[in-house]
């Protein structure tokens, strides 16, 4: 809380904008982060950090900015920062059988699929995972993704393609049963 209070900047307008952004995008950003990092509590924390950063940067943002892409960009960088800090080069799979020995016996039906999907995502490098999640889960366009990642639209398409090819090879729902 101190951190926030110390921010200082920002008048009522900034606050009002933030409230609206929060209302509109908090759910999406949480979902996005959860799909990226695979751990809901961590995703909640990162979403919180995302909005704090957004609040801090709001006065530097042009009025006609695409807020959605901007928030996604902050969220993406927040997630990457966090993971770099933890020196995690390859991302930790969501459910590790050693840590949760019983999970595979209790996940059933559609949730089996969810676990398998989340696990497969976790095996993709961030450079592929991020565009795929943005495109397929969050419903963003390649144009928006290019803006978020600051790469060309062609590069987004190439990464999407590689992400899909890797996903297709790695996806193995039966492992969850096993």
């Amino acid at each position: 809380m101190d951190r926030i209070l110390a921010l200082g900047a920002g008048g009522t307008d900034a606050e009002a904008v933030l409230v609206r952004l929060y209302q509109e995008y908090h759910g999406d950003i949480c979902a996005y982060l959860c799909r990226l990092v695979g751990e809901p509590p961590l995703a909640e924390d990162l979403a919180h950090d995302t909005f704090v950063k957004a609040y801090r940067a709001l006065d530097r943002l042009p009025e006609d900015a695409n807020y959605r892409a901007w928030l996604y960009r902050i969220a993406t960088n927040t997630a990457l920062d966090h993971l770099r800090r933890r020196r995690l080069i390859s991302w930790v799979p969501l459910f590790d059988n050693d840590r949760h020995p019983a999970t595979h016996t209790c996940f059933r039906e559609e949730s089996l699929e969810a676990i398998a999907v989340q696990r497969t995502l976790a095996r993709l490098a961030p450079r592929y995972r991020i565009p795929l999640v943005l495109f397929a889960c969050q419903g963003l366009s390649t144009h928006e993704i290019a803006a978020i990642l600051k790469i060309s639209q062609g590069a987004v398409k190439t990464r999407l393609f590689r992400a899909r090819e890797r996903f297709r090879r790695l996806y193995a729902p039966e492992e969850v049963d096993g």
């Binding site: 809380m1 951190r3 926030i4 209070l5 606050e15 009002a16 933030l18 409230v19 609206r20 929060y22 209302q23 509109e24 908090h26 759910g27 999406d28 949480c30 979902a31 959860c34 799909r35 809901p40 509590p41 909640e44 919180h48 909005f51 704090v52 609040y55 949760h100 019983a102 999970t103 016996t105 209790c106 996940f107 059933r108 039906e109 559609e110 949730s111 699929e113 969810a114 999907v117 989340q118 995502l121 795929l132 999640v133 495109f135 397929a136 889960c137 366009s141 390649t142 398409k157 190439t158 999407l160 393609f161 992400a163 899909r164 090819e165 996903f167 297709r168 996806y171």
Partner: protein
Amino acid sequence: MSCKQVRQLLSYRREWTPQEAARAEEHLAGCPACQAVARAYELMDRRLDRLPVPVPATSAPPVLPVTMAAGRRISAPEPVAPAPRQASRGVLLLVVAALVIVVAIALSATAPRPALRDEPAAPRTGLGATLPQAAATPLEPGLLPSGADGRVTVLLLGIDRRADGGWGYRTDTIVIVSADRDAGSVALVSIPRDLQVAIPGRGEDRINTANVYGYLDGYAGGGPALVKEVIEASFGVAVDAYVVVDFDGFVQVVDAVGGIDVDVPRTLDDPFYPDPRAEDPHAYTTIHFDAGVQHMDGERALQYARSRMTTSDADRMERQQLILLALGEKARRGSWSANLPELVTGLADAVQTDLTLSQIVELAALAEQIDPGSVECHVLREPLVSAQRRGDGAAVFLPNWESIDPLFEELFGPLAVLRPAAHTVAVGESVWSIAQDYGLQPETIAWANAEIEQSPGLLAVGQVLAIPPVDGVLYTVQEGDSLEALAERYHTTVAEIVSFALNRLRETSDLVPGQQLMLPGARKDSDDGHRYPLDAALKAPADAPTGTGRFSWPAEGHLGQGFWSGHRAIDIANVSGTSIVAADTGYVVLAGRDTWGYGNQLLVDHGNGFVTRYAHMNTMYVRAGDVVEKGQQIGAMGATGKATGPHLHFEIWEDGVAQDPLDYLP
């Protein structure tokens, strides 16, 4: 285009330009390998899209993190509709309770009821002394509600609410509990919260929203009354009472009986169990249940009943039933029922019911006799329901009535639901014969089936017909219909329509487009399309021989279909090739193949005002312009045109008016 280029295109399919689409489609048409990739990507998209997101959606407006709002005055955020994706998940469930009833209801027939039967005065007096001021519930003579069939059916509704006022929450747990007091059997049926059903005043929607709509729309009796209505109309079972329980009520009930012992069939791990706190309303906690018999207090039982993120809704419904059974078991063994009145009073804010207190007490007394093993449990899961994504993206279950109806019929006896029977037309049948089989007028069947109404009397084998329950007009409500207008249009009265119980209507009810109504005794002004077959071009010459005016049977056989407004003829059925003779002397004005449905047909003008038609013939032995004698063979029976089997379709017209041939035949 190379395969690789096409696959690159496939990876962002929804953004294709028309040119890209054309190029890709062209390649795909000739490349099975790329087709397989296209399918794999499509499946991938679906899997990624339905990845659950463990973010609790709340019906309350999103709240700024406390850390952000603290110390700053931020005006209350305007409510924003939650995004559909969020809304479809997250909101977790709720639960059930009312052990009281569940159990209680059971076996009332077989159970001796010493407390209430032998000395009814004592317990009632005791209760009466302590309770009236405590409960808003009226204390009435202890009479269990039950239908004429001796069945008591109670709806258990669990709402997603913690403390807090108001009852307009979604009913994420819906269990029908029904006891047959004569047979001594009990059935539990869990209804999935996402089942798509017709909700009066709201069209089709998820069943768990009915409670909310009931309050929003000011439905008489509020949300539970509307839920009851929806259950009755959808499943055809009569509901005698309801019990609504929120989370706290559930916890209190379980704690009041000293906790329950549940035989957990499978280990349950849920790292996403909601654990809202003041500083973070979206917080989660991890819960874990080992397999085997576990003792649970109220809070633990609630966790077991609510957990959803790592399992399916069907699995959760099963767990809720296990809890109900465990409550039943506890009820049977424990001596807690002496404390029931206090419990009920304590639950006043957490439980809502239209049962009176004394009814509950009576149920509870019966509960002690119950054998939980006699309870039959069902969950409406696939294949009884089919998962489907609605137009707005919401995941719902669609009911498969042809599978659900027999189950309910088995459990609850004959269904009282307005769902017309389906009849598949067999060889040799006619609308008339089908109507006779069902004890209905043929018009009733014609009016209920548009295609029959338009070409009456001409059936195809295999065609499926809707068969209304009684004579009258089976009507599907259209936008803008009112009861008054319908009554007038179909020559009946509003009272008549409302009095038909299966319509489940009141005089003031709003009609829902798509809703089916039975208008008993009503009739349509129908134009049957039977035109006088002769015009000026088809007229016997003046010198043609004239008929005798007395007809003989044109063929031997049995009466396949009689004369009615949709069939101004009789059908004489027999084997193919049966001889057909002229019913009277006359002049053949038409002999040919009809494209409308008559097949090979002859029209004979008898020159005395009478005209006869012979249709569906296999072979015709005469031609237009021939003169035929009464009794002369004119053809052989067949099934040409639209016919369900070999028969002669025979019409008699007198001065341009179709007559019932049976009135003229010997």
